[in-house]
């Protein structure tokens, strides 16, 4: 299964993706709750966020994914607040316990899959410093989530970005 997490309007997406059975689309419904850092997804309802909304089962979804495509505005080198919120709500994909990976402390894996990550940032006049930060962020996410970075690309607007996404 592929997962597409994006901050565009759903009508901007190509029809072939909207109708695909293989792609689970995570869009902004305007009602996403914020991760409160309660760790309930680790110690109260392991593997599932305790906040009840459409994004409650992100960890479980990631556990079934082979590939994740992220399309996000580049906000100062971060994902946009919506896409970052989805990432923040996804930590139940990992276990609370720790391990050492590439000489750093990280969380142990709950699932056995290794997600391929393709990230497409868009935004006007993204600076080189912002690109460097965004690349560091994606690579750090991949290390934390035991994923593999396939590509990280930057585009000046969402239309150019959508033209170049490898669906």
């Amino acid at each position: 299964m592929k997962i597409l997490i994006h901050d565009l309007k759903n009508e901007d997406l190509p029809d072939v993706i909207k109708s695909s059975q293989d792609v689970k689309i995570i869009s902004d419904n305007g009602k996403i709750k914020r991760c409160t850092g309660c760790f309930g997804c680790w110690i109260k309802t392991p593997g599932q966020c305790i906040l009840e909304d459409e994004y409650q089962r992100m960890g479980e979804l990631l556990g079934k994914a082979e590939e994740v495509i992220l399309i996000s505005r580049c906000s100062f080198g971060s994902y946009s607040s919506f896409v970052k919120n989805v990432m923040d709500r996804s930590i139940s994909y990992m276990l609370p316990g720790f391990t050492i990976r590439e000489h750093e402390m990280h969380h142990k894996a709950r699932y056995h899959n290794h997600i391929k990550l393709r990230v497409y940032f868009y935004g006007e006049e993204i600076t080189q410093a912002e690109k460097n930060t965004a690349e560091d962020l994606v690579r750090a996410n991949a290390l934390n989530f035991q994923g593999i970075v396939e590509e990280i690309l930057f585009y000046p607007d969402k239309y150019k970005c959508l033209e170049n996404v490898k669906w």
Binding site: R34, C35, T36, G37, C38, F39, W42, I43, K44, P46, G47, Q48, R57, G59, E60, G63, S75, F76, G77, S78, Y79, S80, S81, F82, K84, N85, M87, D88, S90, I91, L95, P96, G97, F98, I100, E104, M105, H106, R110, Y111, T127, A129, E130, N132, T133, D136, L137, A140, N141, N144
Partner: protein, 208 residues
């Protein structure tokens, strides 16, 4: 006046609030604590800057960067305040559960990039590793035991805030407390916390 803005969703109970409180004890000028949780309106965001001579953003690390609510705050201020915000220095006190404070460099870079976009002066950040442990050591003086390195970092940052000067980012970890011990202690604490919620140790690893 220095505004100490707590960007943690846990609010008053957060480690972030604790570290900002420790910094406050080292600043010899009026400070005001503010909580991002409670700031909803454009005017409230603008007032943070109009009321302050310097601002310190306290942030926990969420998934390798600032929490979504902090990113949203920065996005909104960029839209609302571009070219209109009072040009005050912005400092950061960041913390996280992992031991190696260098893992906070992305969070600090995001704030730095945001300051560059808004033409604000980035004054520097203090990155605190093993924050879950350091946040509970309030009874140990800042110049002693595991607090020593963090205490020096807080003092250095406070001195720069006092003079409104810039510092390079400062990275601190527990003094004399090795990573392997922290890893062991932190690992055991999850089982205890789960048990309090009626969750057995083996259920923590549940796949859905």
């Amino acid at each position: 006046m220095v505004i100490l803005l707590n960007c943690s969703f846990r609010g008053e109970k957060s480690n972030t609030r604790y570290f900002l409180g420790q910094l406050e004890t080292l600043l010899n000028e009026p400070c005001r604590h503010a909580a991002l949780n409670r700031i909803k309106e454009e005017q409230e965001r603008a007032e943070l800057f109009s009321d302050a001579d310097a601002i310190v953003l306290g942030m926990p690390l969420y998934v390798d960067g600032p929490p979504a609510q902090a990113v949203e705050f920065m996005e909104r201020l960029y839209e609302e305040g571009r070219g209109r915000l009072k040009r005050i220095p912005v400092y950061v006190v960041a913390n996280m559960g992992f031991y190696e404070s260098r893992q906070l460099h992305i969070l600090l870079s995001v704030v730095k990039n945001w300051c560059a976009r808004l033409d604000l002066s980035y004054g520097g950040g203090l990155a605190i590793g093993a924050g879950e442990m350091m946040g509970g050591l309030g009874k140990i003086p800042l110049d002693q035991g595991p607090n020593k390195e963090m205490g020096q970092g807080l003092k250095k940052l406070a001195a720069h805030i006092g003079k409104r000067t810039d510092t390079e980012d400062l990275y601190v970890e527990p003094t004399g407390f090795p990573r392997r011990l922290y890893l062991l202690a932190a690992g055991m604490s999850w089982g205890r916390q789960a048990k309090k919620n009626g969750v057995k140790r083996k259920e923590i690893k549940r796949r859905r």
